[in-house]
């Protein structure tokens, strides 16, 4: 989706504001929603791509206005309702409806103590790579309305494969529960001038991680 989350290359967003001695969480509620988020993800009802897409669906003005963990709060509420784990009435009252099912938390303290991952692991599946290291490639010009990890600023641009990272689930289908569609992910190097024109340094580059489906031979 061509949303405001796709920020690479936007201008007029102001200077980078730096906080010295920044705390990990700025308020108790930030830590709690962080933990709630990870606990709910552990239920396995939605994957990380679906989670990211839910954030991208926030109305643009809300997305820009909200603090980071406010977005997490909003989308966890939405995902809970969307997946039938909580009713809108329960969210409004803060209490379970009489007779509602009682689950067992997927993420107990004992499980959390083992350490846990968060991303989507590389797949051990063998998939044939469509591109070779050193090969020139063009990022496809595509504008899906759904989830994608191909930023607008790279679409249509020509780069070169510098590394093959192995096989990963394809976000554009995985986010919509249409299958993992596993394929190779590569580091692709784009010259800064290819992306931004003459104003960029001729030496500089931007590397993006790109799935087979984002690329075509150039």
């Amino acid at each position: 989706m061509n949303g405001v989350h796709d920020m690479g290359g936007l201008q007029n967003m102001g200077p980078v504001e730096y906080e010295k001695e920044e705390p990990v969480f700025h308020a108790v509620w930030e830590g709690r929603i962080y933990g709630i988020n990870r606990s709910l993800r552990a239920l396995g009802k939605w994957n990380l791509d679906a989670w990211r897409y839910q954030i991208e669906l926030l109305p643009p003005a809300d997305y820009l206005r909200m603090k980071y963990y406010e977005r997490w709060l909003r989308i966890n509420e939405q995902l809970l309702v969307k997946h039938g784990l909580v009713t809108p009435e329960e969210l409004a009252t803060g209490s379970a409806e009489p007779g509602s099912a009682t689950a067992i938390p997927a993420l107990t303290a004992a499980v959390a103590a083992q350490g846990l991952g968060y991303g989507i692991p590389a797949s051990q599946d063998l998939a044939e790579p469509q591109f070779k290291i050193g090969e020139r490639v063009r990022a496809r010009n595509m504008n899906p309305i759904g989830h994608t990890r191909l930023p607008r600023y790279a679409r249509g641009k020509v780069g070169a494969i510098v590394r093959d990272h192995g096989v990963y689930a394809y976000p554009d289908t995985n986010a919509h529960f249409q299958g993992e569609n596993r394929q190779h992910v590569y580091s692709v190097r784009f010259g800064a001038r290819e992306l931004w024109g003459e104003q960029a340094s001729p030496l500089d580059s931007v590397h993006l991680d790109m799935w087979d489906n984002y690329l075509e031979h150039a």
């Binding site: 906080e19 909580v86 803060g94 991952g117 692991p121 992910v185 500089d204 590397h207």
Partner: protein
């Protein structure tokens, strides 16, 4: 319920305090429904506030500085090399180490969300997740670096890494001059979070960063 408790008197605080109340209500609802274990929340908060953080990444960098064989392993297979020091991100989020040198400066961003090498740096600071950083890091990296006080010479390549997939990048900064006699533990003290994201360099001891 709680949302009507506070009025419009402090508009600039209304949003966060509302969030605090909503999170509290949500947690109690989810605990009641058996979807969340509050002890797991306590544990996660404690882990990120007190256990996982940039000190971990700094140990990885210091080891790479003093042990060339370790650095080679780190550059070739970061997850295994990082696991040697006892750090793991569990499933997912494959770490990649990027080495700075006299002619290359690496810098990490996630333009689409907030992907960050939390397994060795902890949770990202607010600036890393901000619209300002996410938008500018790819189009004006040298301008961003200057704001961080990092002057990168014209003849040095700035390589920006946009974390668009499940790879998570950590920068191995250049070891500063004058540190030849320092121990690995002393070196680790010099390495900052910002240097491992690639927005600054590691200052020599006694230098102003």
């Amino acid at each position: 319920m709680a949302e009507h408790k506070h009025d419009h008197d402090h508009e600039h605080q209304a949003v966060p305090s509302d969030a605090a109340l909503r999170v509290k209500a949500l947690e109690s609802l989810l605990v009641e429904k058996g979807l969340v274990d509050p002890a797991a929340l306590d544990l996660l908060v404690d882990r990120f506030e007190n256990k996982v953080g940039p000190r971990d990444g700094a140990r990885v960098v210091a080891r790479a500085w003093v042990d060339p064989a370790y650095k080679r392993r780190l550059l070739a297979d970061a997850p295994s090399a990082i696991a040697e020091l006892g750090y793991t991100s569990g499933q997912g989020e494959h770490m990649v180490a990027l080495e700075n040198g006299p002619k290359v400066h690496n810098m990490v961003v996630c333009t689409l969300c907030s992907c960050y090498p939390w397994a060795v740096l902890g949770l990202p600071p607010v600036w890393y997740k901000s619209a300002a950083y996410r938008s500018r890091a790819v189009i004006d990296p040298r301008g961003v670096l200057r704001e961080f006080g990092s002057q990168i010479d014209e003849d040095v390549e700035v390589r920006v890494w946009d974390s668009t997939a499940e790879l998570r990048y950590i920068v191995i900064p250049e070891r500063p001059a004058g540190t030849e006699n320092m121990s690995e533990a002393e070196l680790a003290e010099l390495v900052t979070r910002d240097a491992m994201v690639g927005v600054s360099k590691v200052a020599a001891p006694g230098d102003k960063p």
